[in-house]
């Protein structure tokens, strides 16, 4: 869609990389692609353990509605405890 009709712009060319039917794990350095079964209401990331509730924008387009709160809180507490332990060991706490 550049000024020349025949030339493909970066954004046009990237359209080929669009994926439907998948969501990304929202843990920032995980971000693994998760492919829920059509119509399913929850999914768990096999890498980091985050669990999410799902919403289907269209039958082909899933979206993460929000975390499963209990799982989210448990994982957060584990990380916080680990960080506190590390901090107490190196004296930064």
């Amino acid at each position: 869609m550049a000024i020349e009709n025949e030339k493909v712009s970066a954004s046009e060319s990237l359209r080929k990389t669009r994926t439907y039917g998948k969501v990304r794990c929202m843990n920032p350095s995980c971000m693994g692609r998760l492919e829920p079964a059509p119509g399913s209401m929850q999914i768990t990331c096999p890498v980091c353990g985050m669990s999410y509730r799902l919403f289907w924008v269209t039958p082909e387009l899933p979206r993460i509605r929000g975390p499963v709160w209990e799982v989210n809180r448990k994982l957060a507490e584990e990380v916080m405890a680990k960080k506190k332990l590390e901090a107490s060991k190196d004296g930064s706490l």
Partner: protein, 646 residues
């Protein structure tokens, strides 16, 4: 030609107006919309002018492509010196106003002076009238628009108006058009109020001559397909912009309890799907609507389901209302958000700013910095929805000591409250931060610290950072139209490469605001949406103006420098916590306590942040103090400014 639309200079003190064409060389240099507004403000507002004085210059504009065959070019931009920050005031809203203004033959209105009594402007087919608005004073934003249509006998009139907040000089008052389109940042409604200007009403039936109409229509089909097939826009069209709030809260990127936490737990009732249910139940299945020429339709129509305002029709609420009236004050009922959203739209006040300032006051109350004496007995603790709603009323009407103090904005309020209250004010350049938490995203933190109108997510936010796009994809986007071979990182928690992304996005969004299109139609949330390479053909077919992607980039960079020059002239210095490119200490000193595992314990590294700012200045051609070098000004053709060409 679409380019023939003009600038009107209106002096409310004398009642005189003058109409001028926009020279082609000025178009090429600043394109239109926000870019040209920056030039007009720098050239027309005197240095050090009182934002509420008659010499402040209020500019209202449409973009270059507004009212043409191009898709989603409905944005209206408003600029003046801000009464909230004392720096650049600038805001941008959707709706139908700018298209109507274009059909009435105008692209920019430059309004100075102050009317002796309340007035409104009536602009129709090249004519400008100043009309009595005494009877409109005191009316809400929607009542005002209906009353103008009634008075002038034309239901097609579009008006940009202020509500009671603008009349009462709340420093973050909005300009509103339609039910909910809000020019919501930096207090442009307050500037209108200070000029006794209640509204600008427009109606146009003049032709806009398209340079190559058949080709423009044909081309726009491709453009629309590119926009509407993006996953992000399919989601927007179903759930609205509020879907971003839900996504961000999922991983812990939302502020709650005035920055004490970064995730609102058990927020199910505030998730966009819950609003979708309410909108469906109250308005039916086809409840999404849109702005002029837009195919995304990201705005929900709904009726408030319960409470004292049950049954009232409203639109939105956007991402920001869920932050302002949900997560920030920690109120987890949809009814609270929908009620507050209705009130701010009617009063005409910035939802983000008022939600933040009340949440700040809530933290101060819980800390004992303010007491029930200052609140007139209101129990201003977090989660008290009644207190939140009452404070909205009080601020917009300046009722009570605290309502009056908070109506002046965060920094003046912190000076009056004292007792270290400033330390808890989450702001940049005097404007409260978006209700997101950027401690886990250094690029976004750099963006809000350096944005020209104060803390801002719509000036340079590289939000595609959050998708973990492969570096090859990032390089494809960020190496055009200017080659870039420096570092880029797919990791949103990294610091490297982010200054370039922020710089690139800053130019991208300036171009978008100058062309007049919506940010959801560019590289904001979707990597596959149009940017510099895609715009020249739309501009050429609609206007006949031949610009290369680099020409648009240069114009955007030039316009960003105009905004920088304005801010420097009005007192910006790099490390100033009040007027500088700095973040509140809590970003650097307090770790994130909630969210996804990777986010726990994260905060911004002060040294790395400083290096990012250095690098960001370097990309701009600014010195270590953030001042454009002489070489940069010469390269951009700004060395003679102010030139007063217009």
């Amino acid at each position: 030609m679409a380019l023939d639309r003009k600038i009107a200079y209106i002096d409310l003190s004398t009642g005189k107006s003058e109409i001028k064409p926009i020279p082609l060389e000025v178009r090429k240099k600043f394109i239109g919309g926000r870019g040209l507004d920056a030039y007009l403000l720098f050239n027309n507002a005197p240095q050090g002018c009182d934002p509420l004085g008659p010499e402040n210059t209020l500019i209202i504009s449409g973009g270059l492509l507004t009212a043409t065959c191009a898709s989603a070019t409905s944005r209206t931009h408003i600029m003046a010196k801000s009464p909230l920050t004392g720096l650049l005031g600038s805001t941008n809203m959707g709706g139908f106003f700018s298209a109507e203004m274009a059909w009435a033959d105008f692209h920019h209105l430059v309004i100075t002076g102050k009317a002796e009594k309340p007035v409104y402007l009536w602009i129709h087919n090249g004519q400008i009238e100043i009309r009595d608005a005494v009877k409109l004073w005191g009316k809400s934003s929607t009542e005002t628009q209906w009353a103008i249509r009634e008075e002038l006998g034309d239901q097609e009139i579009k008006s940009a108006v202020i509500g009671q907040a603008g009349e009462n000089l709340v420093t973050y008052a909005n300009v509103m058009t339609g039910i909910k389109n809000a020019g919501g940042r930096t207090g442009m409604g307050c500037v209108m109020g200070s000029k006794n200007l209640k509204a600008v009403a427009v109606r146009g039936t003049m032709d806009v001559k398209i340079a190559h109409p058949l080709e423009a229509l044909e081309f726009n089909k491709k453009f629309i397909e590119q926009i509407t097939t993006a996953k992000v826009n399919k989601t927007q069209g179903t759930l609205g912009t509020h879907f971003i709030w839900g996504a961000t809260n999922s991983w812990g990127g939302i502020r709650t309890r005035n920055f004490q936490f970064n995730q609102m737990e058990n927020a199910d009732e505030l998730e966009p799907e819950s609003l979708d249910d309410i909108a469906t139940e109250t308005m039916g299945p086809y409840h999404m609507t849109g702005c002029f020429g837009c195919q995304v339709h990201c705005r929900a129509q709904y009726r408030i389901p319960s409470g004292p305002y049950a049954g009232i029709y409203n639109e939105g609420p956007e991402y920001t209302s869920f932050g302002a009236f949900g997560s920030e004050p920690d109120c987890n009922k949809a009814e609270t958000v929908l009620t507050a959203n209705y009130l701010v739209n009617q009063y005409g006040v910035d939802n983000l700013e008022i939600g933040s300032i009340i949440s700040w006051a809530m933290e101060l109350y819980e800390l004992g910095i303010i007491t029930s004496k200052e609140t007139d007995g209101i129990d201003l603790r977090f989660s008290n929805a009644d207190a939140l709603i009452e404070m909205i009323h009080r601020i917009c009407t300046r009722k009570g000591w605290l309502g009056n103090v908070l109506a002046d904005g965060g920094i003046p309020a912190s000076e009056k409250i004292g007792k270290h209250s400033f330390d808890y004010l989450i702001q940049v350049k005097g404007m409260n931060n978006l209700h997101s938490d950027e401690r886990a995203t250094p690029g976004l933190a750099l963006n809000i610290a350096t944005s020209s109108r104060g803390s801002d997510h719509l000036r340079s936010r590289p939000a595609i950072d959050l998708y973990h796009l492969p570096e090859s994809v990032l390089r494809k986007i960020y190496s055009s139209p200017v080659p870039y071979e420096g570092p880029l990182s797919s990791d949103s928690m990294e610091y490297i490469g982010k200054p370039w992304q922020v710089f690139w996005q800053e130019n991208c969004y300036m171009a978008v605001d100058s062309i007049g299109i919506c940010k959801y139609h560019t590289t904001f949330l979707g990597a596959t949406l149009p940017n510099f390479e895609d715009w020249p053909r739309a501009i050429y077919l609609n206007t006949g103006l031949e610009l290369t992607p680099k020409d648009i980039w240069d114009a955007a960079e030039r316009s960003n420098n105009m905004e920088r020059l304005f801010n420097l002239r009005e007192g910006l210095t790099r490390y100033d916590l009040v007027k500088g490119d700095m973040l509140n200490h809590r970003y650097f000193d307090e770790p994130c306590l909630r969210g996804a595992p990777d986010v726990i314990g994260i905060m911004i590294d002060r040294k790395k942040f400083d290096v990012m700012v250095d690098e960001f200045y370097g990309h701009h051609g600014w010195d270590k103090e953030g001042v454009p070098t002489q070489a940069t000004l010469t390269r951009l053709g700004l060395e003679q400014e102010p030139t007063h060409l217009l």
